[in-house]
Amino acid sequence: MSYQQREPPILAKLCSLLVEETYGELAARVFSVLARHGRQTLAGLARESYLTGRQIKPGLVVLIQQHLVFHSALDPRVTYYEIDWQQSYALVRHGKILKMAEDRFGRKAANVLSNMLTFGHTRLADLKEAYFPSPEKPPSDSAEGHLNGTGIASAEVDSVNGSSGKINGNTDALTNGAAFVNGASAKLHTTADLAKKGKGKAAAEQGNDDVDMMDAEVVEEEGDPNKIQSVGDLYEIINRLGKAGWVIKVDPDQYLSPGDFHALVRQQAYDSIWTDEQAPTGTKDHALWDSRTREMKRQVRDEWYQPPKFDTRKRKPTDQDNDRSSKRQRLNGAFAPADCSMNGDTSPHINPVDDDLNLRVNFDKIGVALRTEQMTRFVEGRLGYTTSQVYRTMLCILEEHIPRCYEPWPDPPSDPKDVALNNHVDDKFLVSAREVAHKIGREFDLFDGLDPHEVVLVMGRSEVKQNHHIKPPLDPVSASLDERTRLVSCHIRLLANDPFHFATWHSRGGANAGGGRYCVEFDEIAKATIQLEIENTVAARKGRIGVKLVRALKKNGKLDERQACNVMMTTANDIREIVNEMTVQGFVQTQEIPRVDRREAKLSLHLIWYDRQRAREKLLHDTYKGMVRIVQRLSFEKEKIHELLRKAERSDVVGNETKYLRKEELDALKKWKEVEAMLLLQLFREDDLVSTLRDFIGPLVSV
């Protein structure tokens, strides 16, 4: 079973809470039954949940639509349902993802993405319908095609299709809060409105209202550059998200749980090499089988991750048309009015885009972006703001060619020795100072964070006078590209010299590289940051001495008390208590090795040791638990002012709060907002920690 599918009960708890928060109680009930009992059939679900099939189905549909549940119809007689933990956990990240999308692709793209996150996966036609409803087509129609389009053959699901409609999972507190925390500017209007309106959680009958609402918005905000103006605009955005890998096609196989997927591919791998008569024998054959399985898994997956090509099935020529027109649009820097009118026409004859295409958000690729943001923040803490922005630019350039943080099915299993010997790095994983200098905004003061002497040296003018003042002052903005390249080089050198080796020099890379080309050893950095987070946790709990102990053990392996004292240059009394407490917390382990037959403890060797992978899992587990407590506290706080919130949300009160609410009520509301912001901010920070601990590298071999 895949590493990521190994869920501790606490994760189940957390995800159930997230599902409840986002999709309401019914979905949450089905979810928690699945969480508790694992893989189930519909009948099994009914048995375990005391719910009837009729009650379960709508809940299940929500979960499936959101890709929170895998389902396998490999066996034609019965369908199994199983939770997708990665996807379920990702509910907590929606806000963060939208923020990143806005930074990278602009507001409009964030808006589209927000709809995709809200609807799970989306048929292109439905998305178009949502933004630009055609009057003659009632939206409930499309819902049918919607689920059908995924090619799900399951009878159970089909039977509920009609009633499912669009699922307006409201982007509740979680997403909203994210926007709130990230600054009001990030508040996505659609999201906010959906949240307000879409309270009917797993309810089915929201489709109409919603579209109307969006329609109204379009009218209201016409002319806003952040507003999607036309269907062409929309397709352009989707195309861009697809090219960047943020949005991928939906494929029925994606609904297979890792176990089912494995079984399926393994069988295919078998069939591709052996026949029934000639079965594999011996370890060599099995190794071949394994590696073929991994290879085929990668193939299948890479196929999913091909940027969705619009209209591959129907009209080749128009495809090119589309390409050309989008190029022209780009050159113009804005959409020409002609395009608008053309694309605005939703008639299928002119529309070049395949309406039946089903799209979903690709969390793998988004994980890479999350990693970029986290590493940037990390570098900011160590080397300062400007250097961190140079780094971010480097990482963003590299992102294009990195489909995921790490390969779960590597082939051959990476042997560290081989990697060391063969340091060939593909050109697309290299980045030069020159590229960064090109890409990084002019507004950055690249002098910042550098030794003024170095700045003066690069600029070839001015001098450093006493107290490190540059005289006469230099204008950072007017530096030439060459100068900027050299300044960027200085920042990259800082990154490379750091003990974390944020960048690694690779080759000179010719005249155009400007100071050589660098690669980023993500795996090593990921390991180091995991270690650092463990140390941070220990530091907060036990102070400097605890960190010292962990590092001493990490560096020297198993130590007895005296040896540990020697390395740490401290006395036994100082560490004894710490060792005990940290053992209880699960960050270090102790071991007793008897030296006499009677196993007298006094004569035994008592060793202390530290295992990074163990500590990592422990901290991850604790962090999940911390998040559970925050979500629980959040709902407790909300419960306390439930009545007031209801009142404040009444349509006559909204906008007229001062008129209808008393001063105490207003104060209480304000306080609640603060509390919510504090709790959510902390929740998202804990999620950052989860990324670092879980998502950037696979299981580590114990030291």
Binding site: G333, E399, E443, D445, R551, M569, V628
Partner: protein
């Protein structure tokens, strides 16, 4: 360290450094003569005037700097004995009176004299005491573990401990706990300073790390390394302020955005003043050389904070390694060290431990509901300044 010994010159006493000089282990009988010294078959008893000549020989030896090794040829060159046989007798005489001890140097026999005082106390000892004393003496600064005394003498540990105690109270030997083997008590002569194997380096006193000393030195080292690797750049170090700066930025931004291709890398976040005003900033020096254990050792030695001990680069290395563990230094490019900039001040650790649960003492027993839960939690109450549910 050898120089600080009470008058013992380095060559012989610091035997741990010069393992070539080996003490001949005493046996239960009279000290045996050197292997390559011809011993007359029948030893005549020392005649009275031999005692005087022995005295003379001792005096002559004592003229040499203390701790000198005397080989047979040196002693015969002193012109005290008539012939080889007599010299052997004289040496035997002095050995019997504990005024001389036998050693070997590169497999050749040699002798060293003891002070009269030491000889006197040896004379007053019982045979067992003397034997053990000699064993301790033979190990010099390395010291002897009581268990190995037992192994070699075959006596009970009780008896040996009694003797060792006795020697200790007489002020002849001292005991220290070994650093390497913490439960071993090592014995060595009173006037010697224990070797590093047992007592640890200059950072230890009586087997314990001298925290005060370590703190003083590491502070100094940290400051020095900071001075060498970082510079503090004042807030307005580059006082460049074109009048239309804001406008220029806006213009440039507008231009950039206009031409930005959609396949371009993501837009970069908007400008933010890199420094807080009025606050200086540490940056790393651009020089590529970093302080090493050697240069820091020199610095510490010149600072003269460590009294009557010399420290070596290895000692400093140990200290620097420890400071790396503490996060006060970090290792760069192989041998060099620098100060992490991030150190300056930290208010937060990570998302988990900055929330109440991360450092909660009852974290492990906190449950979804019940007496200890998020609803009843006092820590959340304190943090959020809200009321928690009361436990009834």
């Amino acid at each position: 360290m050898a120089s600080s010994n009470d008058g013992m010159p380095p060559a012989a006493e610091a035997s741990s450094d010069t393992p070539a000089v080996k003490a001949e282990l005493p046996s239960n009988e009279r000290p045996s003569p050197a292997p390559n010294v011809p011993v007359p078959a029948a030893q005549p008893a020392p005649r009275p005037h031999d005692a005087k000549r022995a005295e003379l020989l001792y005096e002559k030896c004592a003229e040499a700097p203390a701790g000198t090794l005397f080989f047979q040829r040196d002693l015969s060159n002193m012109d005290v004995a008539e012939n080889m046989g007599e010299l052997v007798n004289l040496i035997q005489e002095l050995s019997d009176r504990h005024m001389m001890k036998l050693l070997t140097f590169e497999n050749e026999a040699c002798w060293k004299i003891r002070t009269r005082q030491e000889a006197e106390s040896l004379r007053l000892m019982t045979g067992d005491e003397r034997l053990i004393y000699q064993m301790i003496d033979a190990e010099q600064t390395r010291g002897v573990w009581s268990q190995s005394v037992r192994a070699r003498t075959g006596q009970t540990i009780g008896a040996i401990n009694k003797i060792l105690k006795g020697l200790e109270t007489k002020g002849l030997v001292q005991s220290v706990l070994s650093v390497k083997h913490p439960n071993r008590r090592m014995y060595l002569l009173k006037h010697l300073r224990p070797a590093e194997d047992i007592a640890g380096g200059p950072w230890q006193t009586d087997g314990e790390f001298d925290q005060a000393l370590i703190e003083v030195v590491s502070k100094l080292v940290e400051q020095e390394i900071r001075r060498q690797t970082c510079i503090e750049v004042p807030a307005g170090y580059n006082a460049y302020t074109p009048e239309d700066r804001v406008e220029a930025i806006a213009r440039k931004k507008a231009r950039l955005q206009a031409v930005q291709d959609i396949e371009d890398a993501p837009a970069i976040k908007p400008y933010r003043p890199p420094r807080q005003h009025g606050r200086s900033n540490y940056v790393y020096k651009s020089s590529r050389t970093y302080p090493t254990p050697e240069t820091i050792c020199e610095f510490v030695t010149n600072k003269n904070v460590i009294k009557d001990r010399t420290i070596t680069a290895e000692d400093v290395d140990q200290l620097l390694d420890m400071m790396v563990l503490e996060g006060r230094l970090e290792k760069v490019s192989g041998l060099g060290y620098r100060v992490p900039l991030a150190l300056l001040e930290r208010g937060s650790y990570n998302g988990f431990v900055d929330a109440p649960c991360g450092i909660c003492p009852v974290f492990d027993i906190c449950a979804d509901d019940g007496e200890i839960s998020a609803r009843t939690c006092v820590y959340f109450g304190e943090w959020l300044q809200t009321e928690s549910e009361l436990i009834l």
